[in-house]
Structure formats: structure tokens, C-alpha cells
């Protein structure tokens, strides 16, 4: 068995007295105490009053949500790749065909139901990564609460509410089709 011999430091007699270390320790704690009291130490955010909202980076991985494009088209085409990749199987999609009289009939497919069970979601972001349509993004929404299991399931409406409109993405369905 591999062993590592750790050499025990040989203490001087005054070190053995314990008091110098004690006084040193008190010195350290006093320094921290004073710094905290004078506000020189950064302490925890006071959460419900202060929120993360403004401090979160754009790439923060909060609740996954669906987005629409500039023309309010729902970007999701219900390819179900996110449902497939989702490690905790939080996503359930029911696809449907877009009616032929719809403005976006050429896209052919969209989700009828898109549900993300936020109890299951682990915010891994694989859905965003796998999405070939740039339709699902992890947004800054992080305080997800509910009083029942059913409330914790985000349906399509809620997902678009969180996701909102997203511009500057590839709009492949709009071009020349």
C-alpha cells in the first residue's frame, strides 16, 4: 500500500504552550470581525430584497423556455430532440401539423403541447444545445415555485411567456420558401 509519511512538525516550547497560537487566532478573527462590520468584506446577497436579476450573465442557465422570432413565429417545430436528449426526461412534446391556411403552413409542424416538468428539470442546458431550430433557451428565470406538482409543469403558454421574442437568430424558414 502506498503510504505517505507526513512529518509532524516539532514544536518549540512556547508553541506547545498553546497561548501564542490562541492569541494569533484571536487576531485573525478580530481582523475578519472588523472587516465585516466595517463593510469591507463582501457578504451574501440579501436574497428576497436583493435579486439576482440584474447581475445574471446572458448565458445564465435558468428555466428553459421557448422563444418566438421577429415575426412572432414560434420557432419550435416539435422535432422532439430536446425530449430525447433531456437526461431527467422533463420534457413532453405533443406535435401537430400546422393547418394549410396558416401563414406558416410551410413549416408544417409545431408543438400542440410542450410541457417541461420543472420538478424534473436539472438546468443542464442540453435542450438548448441540441435544438436545431434555436427555439429553446435557458433564460434568467431562476425562482420557479408552485404549490402543487401540476403547477410546476410549465406548459407552452408559460414557456413562451418566459422566453419571449428573440432576435438575431437564423431564420431559415423565412427565406425564399
Amino acid at each position: 500500500m502506498a503510504t505517505i509519511v507526513v512529518k509532524r512538525p516539532k514544536l518549540k516550547w512556547w508553541e506547545k504552550l498553546y497561548l501564542p497560537a490562541l492569541i494569533g487566532g484571536i487576531g485573525v478573527t478580530i481582523r475578519h470581525f472588523v472587516r465585516t462590520l466595517t463593510g469591507r468584506t463582501k457578504v451574501t446577497m440579501q436574497y428576497p430584497e436583493e435579486k439576482w436579476n440584474d447581475h445574471l450573465p446572458e448565458w445564465y442557465r435558468g428555466a428553459p423556455a421557448l422563444v418566438t422570432d421577429e415575426q412572432d413565429r414560434e420557432r419550435c417545430v416539435a422535432c422532439q430532440l430536446c425530449e430525447f436528449i433531456c437526461p431527467p426526461r422533463a420534457i413532453t412534446i405533443t406535435p401537430e401539423e400546422i393547418a394549410s391556411d396558416d401563414k406558416w403552413a410551410k413549416v408544417e409542424k409545431r408543438p400542440r403541447e410542450f410541457e417541461i416538468d420543472m420538478i424534473r428539470c436539472i438546468y443542464c442546458g442540453l435542450c438548448e444545445e441540441v435544438c436545431p431550430e434555436q427555439a429553446i433557451f435557458l433564460r434568467q428565470e431562476y425562482a420557479i415555485t408552485g404549490t402543487s406538482r401540476a403547477e410546476m409543469v410549465h406548459d407552452k403558454k408559460k414557456l413562451y411567456e418566459i422566453g419571449g421574442k428573440r432576435v438575431g437568430l437564423v431564420n431559415k424558414w423565412n427565406a425564399l420558401k
Binding site: L22, G25, I26, V28, T29, H32, F33, R35, T36, L37, T41, K42, V43, T44, Q46
Partner: protein, 365 residues
């Protein structure tokens, strides 16, 4: 001291008022707020915020905690010895509060001595009663009928017995020097002739005073350390050491019964601080003989009396903060180190200290 048989209603009422005033209006709130102070101070030391939600700066947190403790389910596990299990928390709390009877927390107010019982054997009474709190812990461990509490109580009893010896021996030099066991007169002496640790005025401002301050300082170190051990505070809180024993002797307790253990610990800490202040730091007296009464029987103006009470509690609070501070500075001792420190070092040093004091007293007759 009036004879016991002649206790009249007036003195009974005065005593009752003093008991209620001291215990319920001062000590108990201090217990509650020392918990708050402990949490805030430790938070500041550790770069945190601490409880700041209930009331301004969290000042109502102790009330909220108390309310929570009262409202929580008082669960008695099925495997415990019920009678002893119920008795143990009370036995921890009561001795802590009893010992405050002999502490002089002020000079005089309205012509009354500011001490509940002006005994001539003050320190002995304190040690006698304080020893009783070990029964609470032992009973808690035994009655819980569970291994961690049991270990905790065994540790606790041996620890307390060990350090009681050092504690007792450590103050003997002080008593030898003053030749006095009445705490009230001890404080009066210090008020006039310099504190035991601060011999800078009165009679002690002499070679003898300075030389005798050496054994007193040693006494003070041993006494303070032993108080830590007696009150089960870090670095000597092995009976409730969570990494080894879950929560030690009160593992099986919940709700207000647990709170009694908790409060008992803090009460013991306050009383311990009070004793240390009384013995070594001049009790209620101000330094350099300011506002010191001429004798224990001399009349004291009202505002002097109030200042003295304030001085006492100010000193106690400083001492409590010191207690708290030490807890967040030091790691916990190992059990064998604890025993070694108690029996090999403190016991011997305390004995030697007594001998040294005796020799010094003989020299500086």
C-alpha cells in the same frame, strides 16, 4: 446575617424582588441575547451576515426562536426512561440559575445589598451547586437509552469532575491573599485596594501587591479555562461534539426540553463570567477606586449603586463576548488532550500556585 428564624415578610419580599429582577429580568434575557450575540459575532468573524431578519438587525430573533421551541412538537422517544428523561433538562437549567444567588451584582441600592444571598461561603456554594449540573447531563445521557447521548454524558461527567478540581484549587491563592470567602466583601476589598488582576491603587499598589499578582494571574488562566470546560464550551465541548456524537447528551431531546439544555449552557456561561468578574476583575467596582464605598455597610448614593450594577454587567458582557470569541477561534480538543490538560497540567500548576502563594505570603507578611 439575621438568624433564619427571624425572616420577616419585608426581607422576604425584597429577596423575592431581587430574585425575580436578577433571574428573570436580567439573566434570562441575557441568555437569550447571548445566543443572538453568538450568532451575529460568529457570522461577522466568518464573513457572514447572521440572523438579521426578525426585528431590526435580528434583535427579535431570540423571541422567534423561543416561540418556535415552545410550539414545536415535544417528542418523547419510546425507548427512554421517561421520569429521568423529563428531569434531566430541569437539572441542567436549575443549578445554573441557583448559583447566581451569591453573586454581588452591585453595591447597594435603596440601602439594600445587591446580592440575593450574602453568604459567607460564596465560592464554595457556587462550586457545590454548579457540580449538580453534571447530574442533568448524566441523567440525560442515561435516560435517553441511546448510545451517542450515553457517550456524551460519560464524557461530560469525567470532564466536569476533572476540571472542578482545577477550578477549586485555582481560586485558593485568591482566598489566601484576601482571607475572605464572602464575595461581597471580596469585591469591596478590590474596589478599595485594587482588583486582583489590576493591583494599581490602594494597598495593592506596592511590591507585595505586584508580586502577588503573579499567582493571581496563573489562577485566572486556570480558572477561566476550567470555566470553559465546566460549561461545555468550545474548545472543550466534547460531550456534544457533533462530528463524533451527533448532538451528544441531548441527541434525543426536542422542543423546549432541548431548549432548556441550550439555555442552561448559556446561563452557566453567564454565571461563570459573573464569578470570574467578581473574583478577578473587581466585580461591580470601578477601576482606581472611583465611586468606591468606604465599606460594605456604608451608605451608597443611588446613582453610585446604579453605576455599580452597570459596571458589573458591562464586565460580564465583555467576558461573555470573550467566551463567544474563543469558540470561533479554537478547534476542539481531542479527548485525551483534554484529560491530560486537566490532570497533568492544571492540577499540578494549581497546586504549585498555592504553594507559591503561601511562600510569597510568608515572605511579604
Amino acid at each position: 446575617m439575621p438568624p433564619i428564624a427571624s425572616i420577616d415578610l419585608a426581607s422576604l419580599a425584597i429577596s423575592t424582588a431581587k430574585i425575580i429582577g436578577l433571574v428573570f429580568l436580567v439573566i434570562m434575557p441575557m441568555v437569550a441575547y447571548s445566543v443572538w450575540a453568538e450568532r451575529r459575532v460568529s457570522a461577522a468573524i466568518q464573513d457572514r451576515v447572521g440572523p438579521n431578519r426578525v426585528g431590526w438587525a435580528g434583535l427579535l430573533q431570540p423571541m422567534a426562536d423561543g416561540l418556535k421551541f415552545i410550539l414545536k412538537e415535544d417528542f418523547t422517544p419510546g425507548h427512554v426512561r421517561k421520569g429521568y428523561y423529563w428531569l434531566a433538562p430541569a437539572l441542567t437549567m436549575i443549578p445554573s440559575l441557583l448559583t447566581c444567588a451569591v453573586l454581588p451584582f452591585g453595591s447597594r441600592l435603596f440601602g439594600e445589598k445587591m446580592v440575593i444571598a450574602d453568604l459567607d461561603v460564596g465560592p464554595l456554594f457556587v462550586f457545590a451547586i454548579a457540580s449538580l449540573s453534571v447530574y442533568g447531563i448524566v441523567l440525560a445521557g442515561w435516560a435517553s437509552n441511546s448510545k451517542y447521548p450515553f457517550f456524551g454524558s460519560v464524557r461530560s461527567s469525567s470532564q466536569m469532575i476533572s476540571y472542578e478540581i482545577a477550578l477549586g484549587l485555582s481560586i485558593i491563592p485568591l482566598l489566601m491573599i484576601h482571607g475572605e470567602l464572602n464575595l461581597g466583601r471580596l469585591v469591596q476589598e478590590q474596589a478599595v485596594n485594587g482588583w486582583a488582576l489590576l493591583p494599581l491603587w490602594g494597598e495593592s499598589l506596592s511590591l507585595k501587591g505586584f508580586v502577588l499578582a503573579i499567582p493571581v494571574f496563573v489562577s485566572f488562566l486556570i480558572f477561566t479555562t476550567s470555566i470553559f470546560a465546566e460549561t461545555n464550551r468550545l474548545p472543550f465541548d466534547l460531550p456534544e461534539c457533533e462530528t463524533e456524537l451527533v448532538a451528544g447528551y441531548h441527541t434525543e431531546y426536542s422542543s423546549m426540553k432541548f431548549a432548556l439544555f441550550f439555555l442552561g449552557e448559556y446561563a452557566a456561561m453567564i454565571i461563570g463570567s459573573g464569578l470570574a468578574v467578581t473574583l478577578f476583575l473587581g466585580g461591580w467596582s470601578l477601576p482606581f477606586g472611583w465611586l468606591a464605598p468606604e465599606s460594605t455597610t456604608a451608605e451608597v448614593p443611588l446613582w453610585h449603586g446604579l453605576v455599580h450594577i452597570g459596571a458589573f454587567f458591562a464586565k460580564v458582557i465583555v467576558f461573555i463576548v470573550f467566551f463567544i470569541w474563543v469558540r470561533w477561534c479554537l478547534p476542539r480538543f481531542r479527548y485525551d488532550q483534554l484529560m491530560r490538560l486537566g490532570w497533568v497540567w492544571f492540577f499540578e500548576i494549581a497546586l504549585a500556585n498555592i504553594a507559591l502563594t503561601a511562600i510569597l505570603l510568608a515572605i511579604f507578611k
